[in-house]
C-alpha cells in the first residue's frame, strides 16, 4: 500500500489573507510528518499513528490554525482545547477535553490511549494527568494570540449589540449556523 498523509486546517469563512498561511502551515506539517510513513535508515518502521500525531503537533504550534497556540477564545477570553487520536489497527483511542495552557492536546490524547485503561479524560483531572505525565503547563494565557483576542473582542461587541436589539440567545445561535461566521466555525 502506498503511504498517504492527508491533513486539514479547518473549515469556514477562511479569509484571503489567512488562506495562504494555512496552506504553508499544512505543507510544513506534511513535510515533517511524512517521514514517519517512509522507511529510512533513521526510521525503520512506517507508522500512521506517529505521522498523524506529528502533523497535528506542527499545526498546533502555528497560530494560523485554531488549535493549540492560536486557538479561539471562550466566553471568558480563555483557551480551552480538545483533541482525539485513534489507531485503526486495534481500534484504540485517546481523547481529551477542557485542557488549558497545554500546547499539544493531541499528544496528551495519545498518552491517555497508551497509559490508561480509559479513552476520554476531561477538565481538571485531564489537566493533572497531563502535568503528571510531563506535559509542560505553560504560563496562563500563553496560547492566546493577538488575532484570537481581536476576534473575541469583535464577537463580544456583536453579542452586546444583539442583546441591545432584544434578540433572544437562541435566535443568535440559530442564525450563527446558517452561514460561516467570520471567525470560522470550529
Amino acid at each position: 500500500i502506498k503511504p498517504i498523509l492527508l491533513v486539514h486546517g479547518g473549515a469556514g469563512g477562511i479569509s484571503d489573507t489567512l488562506a495562504p498561511r494555512k496552506v504553508d502551515g499544512m505543507k510544513q506539517a506534511l513535510r515533517v510528518a511524512v517521514k514517519h510513513l517512509l522507511v529510512t535508515k533513521d526510521i525503520s518502521k512506517s507508522s500512521a499513528l506517529d505521522a498523524v500525531e506529528a502533523a497535528v503537533r506542527i499545526m498546533e504550534c502555528d497560530e494560523s490554525f485554531n488549535a493549540g497556540y492560536g486557538s479561539c477564545l471562550n466566553i471568558a477570553g480563555k483557551v480551552e482545547v480538545e483533541a482525539s487520536i485513534m489507531d485503526g489497527s486495534e481500534l484504540r483511542a485517546g481523547c481529551v477535553a477542557l485542557l488549558h495552557d497545554i500546547i499539544h492536546p493531541v499528544s496528551v490524547a495519545r498518552c491517555i490511549m497508551h497509559k490508561t485503561r480509559h479513552v476520554f479524560l476531561a477538565g481538571e483531572a485531564a489537566q493533572k494527568f497531563a502535568f503528571n505525565q510531563g506535559y509542560e503547563q505553560l504560563a496562563e494565557n500563553s496560547l492566546v494570540t493577538e488575532s484570537a483576542q481581536m476576534t473575541w473582542q469583535k464577537h463580544q461587541e456583536r453579542h452586546v449589540r444583539c442583546s441591545d436589539m432584544a434578540f433572544t440567545r437562541s435566535e443568535i445561535d440559530v442564525g450563527s449556523i446558517k452561514k460561516d461566521p467570520p471567525e470560522g466555525s470550529g
Binding site: R31, H36, V56, V106, D180, P181
Partner: protein, 141 residues
C-alpha cells in the same frame, strides 16, 4: 480545527483531530473534535476520518461514523461517502462542515459544505492542496 489521517505501508490507518473550538463558546463546551465517531474515527478495515466545522452539528449527525458507514455498508468510494455525508448533514441540520477521509484501499475523500476548507495531502512524493472547491494545486514534496 486541524486534523490528519494517514495510511502506512502495512495498511494501518490512524486519525487525529485537535481544536480550540469556537469563539465565545461557553465554559466547559466540548465539540466534535474529541469525540470518536463525530470528529475522528479510524478502522483499518474501513478507513479513517477527521472532521471540521460546526461542532454541534457534526456531533448531532455523527459525521465521521456516517462516512465510515457509507464506505462499509454502501460500498461508496471515500470521496463519494465524504461528499454525501457532508451534504446530508447540512441539508438536515443547516450547520456546515467538512471532512477528510482515507479508505482502507488508499482512496481519498475531501469535501466541505462551508465556504472554504484548507486541505492537503502527500502521496507518491507529491503534495496536493486546496482551499476552494474548484481549485487544486500540486507541487513536489
Amino acid at each position: 480545527t486541524v486534523g490528519a489521517v494517514a495510511i502506512d505501508i502495512e495498511g494501518n490507518i490512524a486519525a487525529a483531530t485537535s481544536t480550540g473550538g469556537i469563539t465565545g463558546k461557553m465554559l466547559g463546551r466540548i465539540g466534535d473534535s474529541s469525540l470518536l465517531g463525530c470528529g475522528t474515527y479510524a478502522d483499518n478495515l474501513v478507513g479513517g476520518v477527521s472532521a471540521t466545522g460546526h461542532g454541534e452539528t457534526i456531533m448531532r449527525f455523527n459525521l465521521a461514523q456516517k462516512i465510515m458507514a457509507k464506505i462499509h455498508y454502501e460500498c461508496k468510494t471515500a470521496q463519494a461517502a465524504t461528499e454525501e455525508a457532508c451534504k446530508e448533514m447540512t441539508k438536515r441540520l443547516l450547520g456546515t462542515g467538512g471532512a477528510i477521509t482515507i479508505g482502507s484501499n488508499g482512496q481519498l475523500g475531501v469535501y466541505w459544505t462551508t465556504r472554504r476548507m484548507a486541505w492537503a495531502y502527500v502521496k507518491n512524493g507529491e503534495i496536493c492542496y486546496g482551499v476552494d472547491h474548484d481549485k487544486t494545486f500540486k507541487e513536489p514534496l
